[in-house]
């Protein structure tokens, strides 16, 4: 499709777009172009339409300055069977035509009782970095996301404009093509080459995604940046800087179509990297990037090693003055620094290319140098807690901190609070993540000078570091004992994967927060197992004890509502609307607790299908976020032969967790004095003793036991159907 000979210099993006329009007008006799100041010799504000009025004068229409009028006429032309391209001189002015886009063109496709093609593409130059000021520099993409029938495209240096426009028109429904003005003078990428070090390929069907990667590293990304066309160069600049400073493989992926977004072609890449940023020039709040992040979280939650990083311009109007405009708009440095912080690559940058504080920070450095160390202390955050837990450091050790920068997150019993620095300086951490500190305790210091790298850390014990990848950031791992010898600590270590880190966080919190009791009962299961076997034969599909336990637990909610609640404060339990039962699934070394929602309304066969689905997803690490949240009680399944007793930790903020051991055989003497074998399981209940007492626990377990021993009593008629 791209008419570029291999030996030619690549055309500029504006030329590519201009050529695309000429070719489309050559081909399509019913294609119209409407807009302001389009006619030659002017040829449009950015010269994109140059030459068109000379060649196709009857179909290139210069209009009055009224975007509402232009788009209204364009919508009418399209409705009558023509193809229409509109140029809005600046994307900012699209607001004046919003009503025509929202209420006429996009709705006309489907409000006449049959699908009516509306082949209309609205082209609009967007974006800043030209000093055009608040009303000529915006990136309004986010305001058009999610309008039914309306597709959004963005010009990119990877995607041939003719293909983009052709695809948009062929769709038969309105579309907007956003054209970042900074792209117009840049050259198209061609022959799968970005520069000497970076290559790209188009992936996915149709227009697809461009995937740019360091040469030879197509399949091994450390971080992937999702960047629309307008910020492609900034994302690539950041990728190059991170590669130079840290040796990391940062890839950039650019979709031709922003909405509806087909994320599928790049999901394997995002999942393999585990770290994703979405960047855009639009201002903060309600962004396209948050839409993308939500989809990525939903689809590959289990594969991500951290939340999707969303970077945009500031929450501000766009200033005219260049130095102020740069402060507001997303730049390559913002992407670089954002990724560096999120990935924890700060240390390596300091060792290689960290230039120290910027000029703007120089005065503050001098002030700090002349002064003394500023402590960062634990403030009083509420009236309930005497201590708080250090949840996370938000700033790298030894990084420069400005006043009011949030440096550390503390967990209270109710919420997490980010603590800001009161002064400036280089951060020296004292407290470690997981430390419990009282008001006034020292969290760290802001030093006037960077601490020497080789100096021993006197405020805290020496810590082991990961040895597997020496070029990776130094991440502290808490020692088993503070006086452990250094050589032992330097021995081989095992890095917990993300799933296990999640488990660790939950059980650690549970251990700290929940004063748990535990009760165990024994249930005879011959009858229920026989019944399950018969039902499995009748239905031709396996049914197991796990399904019965889940069902029995769910059915108990009506009479034991507190067991399914969560503590609001020391005296109040929020009760659940319905039983949503989490079930432990560990088929491949990673523990998940996906949730069987509204389990009381499901038949055993439905629960069995759900559990099978969970196990298959666990094997492929394919859980979505919503499948792993919302449980109000949990069941720990431990069917491996020989398991007698399982004492689970309550999954805070839940109040109870049921455990089931393996089916065992025992011998007993019946009334006739004959020795008989019978099968049993142990059913345990770990419970938050602040809410549930031992006698309540026994009553609850007795209910579950009864359901197993007298299965006919379990649930309603549908429970034992095979459907």
């Amino acid at each position: 499709m791209t008419p570029i000979a291999a030996t030619t210099v690549a055309p500029r993006v504006a030329e590519n777009l201009n050529h695309a329009l000429h070719r489309l007008f050559d081909r399509e006799e019913r294609l119209y172009l409407l807009g302001e100041d389009l006619l030659d010799p002017y040829g449009g504000a950015f010269k994109i339409t140059k030459g068109l009025s000379s060649r196709f004068g009857d179909r290139v229409v210069a209009t009055p300055l009224s975007e509402g009028g232009i788009l209204g006429v364009a919508g009418g032309l399209a409705l009558c069977g023509n193809e229409v391209i509109v140029e809005v001189m600046f994307g900012d002015f699209l607001a004046l035509g919003f009503d025509q886009v929202l209420n006429f063109a996009s709705k006309s496709v489907s409000m006449y009782g049959r699908r009516v093609p509306i082949p209309l593409v609205v082209r609009c130059p967007v974006g800043g970095n030209r000093g055009y000021g608040p009303t000529h520099s915006q990136s309004p993409q986010k305001h058009f996301v999610g309008i039914p029938n309306l597709a959004l495209y963005e010009l990119s240096p990877f995607h041939d404009a003719e293909a983009v426009l052709h695809t948009a028109l062929q769709r038969g429904a309105p579309a907007i093509l956003f054209e970042d003005k900074v792209l117009y003078t840049r050259r198209m990428y061609q022959e799968n080459r970005v520069d000497d070090a970076y290559r790209y390929r188009i992936t996915g069907s149709g227009l697809g995604w461009a995937h740019a990667f360091p040469d030879g590293e197509e399949d091994s990304a450390d971080f992937v940046v999702v960047a629309p066309g307008g910020v492609t160069h900034r994302a690539l600049d950041a990728a190059r800087a991170l590669r130079e400073a840290h040796g990391r493989s940062v890839h950039v992926v650019t979709p031709a179509q922003l909405h509806p977004l087909d994320i599928e072609p790049v999901l394997p890449l995002l999942a393999s990297a585990g770290r994703v940023a979405v960047v855009e020039e639009g201002t903060a709040g309600g962004t396209w990037g948050s839409e993308v992040a939500q989809v990525v979280h939903e689809r590959i939650w289990s594969s991500l090693s951290g939340p999707v990083l969303s970077l945009s311009s500031a929450d501000s109007i766009i200033p005219t003055a260049g130095h102020l405009e740069r402060e507001v708009l997303l730049g390559a440095e913002d992407i670089r620094d954002g990724i560096r912080r999120a990935a924890g690559w700060g240390d390596a940058l300091r060792e290689t290319a960290q230039p120290g504080p910027t000029q703007a920070q120089a005065a503050a450095v001098e002030t700090a140098a002349a002064g003394t160390t500023t402590p960062v202390t634990v403030p009083k955050l509420n009236n309930n807690d005497e201590t708080y837990l250090v949840a996370d450091w938000l700033v790298d050790e030894d990084a420069w901190v400005e006043p009011d920068t949030e440096v550390v997150a503390l967990d209270t019993s109710k919420a997490q609070a980010d603590i800001a620095a009161s002064g400036s300086g280089y951060l020296r951490r004292v407290a470690a993540v997981g430390d419990e500190l009282a008001v006034g305790d020292i969290l760290g210091h802001l030093l006037p000078e960077r601490a020497p790298r080789a100096a021993p850390e006197q405020d805290r014990p020496a810590r082991p570091t990961r040895s597997a990848a020496p070029d990776r950031p130094v991440e502290p791992i808490r020692p088993l004992t503070e006086d452990a010898p250094q050589e032992d600590l330097a021995a081989e270590v095992h890095r917990l994967d993300r799933a296990q880190q999640g488990t660790a966080a939950v059980v650690a919190k549970s251990h700290r927060e929940v004063p748990a009791g535990f009760t165990l009962v024994k249930a005879q299961v011959d009858d229920v197992l026989d019944r399950l076997d018969r039902l499995s034969d009748e239905g031709g599909a396996v049914l197991g004890l796990a399904e019965v336990v889940v069902k029995a637990v769910a059915d108990a909610q009506r009479d034991f509502p507190r067991f399914f609640g969560s503590l609001v404060d020391d005296r109040t339990v929020a009760l659940a609307d319905a039983p949503h039962v989490g079930v432990t699934v560990d088929v491949d070394g990673s523990l998940y607790v996906p949730v069987v929602t509204r389990a009381h309304e499901r038949s055993l066969a439905e629960i069995a299908d759900t559990l099978m689905d969970f196990r298959m997803k666990a094997l492929g690490k394919e859980f979505t976020a919503h499948e792993l949240t919302g449980g109000n009680i949990a069941v720990s399944l431990n069917p491996d032969p020989g398991v007698v007793l399982v004492q689970p930790l309550v999954l805070w903020p839940q109040l109870c967790m049921v455990s089931v051991g393996a089916v065992g055989d025992e011998c007993r003497i019946d009334e006739a004095g004959v020795a008989r074998t019978r099968r049993f399981v142990h059913i345990g209940l770990a419970y938050d003793h602040r809410v549930v007492n031992g006698r309540d626990a026994v009553l609850f377990l007795t209910r579950i036991k009864a359901a197993l021993e007298e299965p006919a009593q379990l649930g309603g008629e549908l429970t034992w159907t095979t459907a």
Binding site: S536, G540, A541, V542, L543, G544, A546, V587, A608, D609, T610, M612, D613, R615, M616, L619, G620, P639, D640
Partner: protein
């Protein structure tokens, strides 16, 4: 021996000769965990997306062979 039997023998950790059409959920080594692993391995090998309900209905090697035949795959 066929690919199907090799897959199942691998998951169960037994010799292929021990696998026949009757081998299934009633076999001691065919635990619920291995059931899932077998389904996943068969799905991968033959390029099939097996639904949870069909996974539950494949209770033996014979059932799996039947499923493959229905899907036009040669076991």
């Amino acid at each position: 021996m066929s690919t199907l039997e090799r897959i199942i023998a691998d998951v169960l950790g037994v010799a292929e000769e021990e696998i026949d059409d009757e081998t299934g959920t009633a076999t001691a080594s065919w635990t619920s965990l291995r059931h899932v692993q077998i389904i996943a391995a068969v799905g991968r090998e033959y390029g099939l997306r097996i639904t949870p309900r069909r996974a539950r209905s494949c209770r033996s090697v014979g059932d799996l062979r039947k499923l493959l035949a229905e899907e036009g795959r040669s076991a």
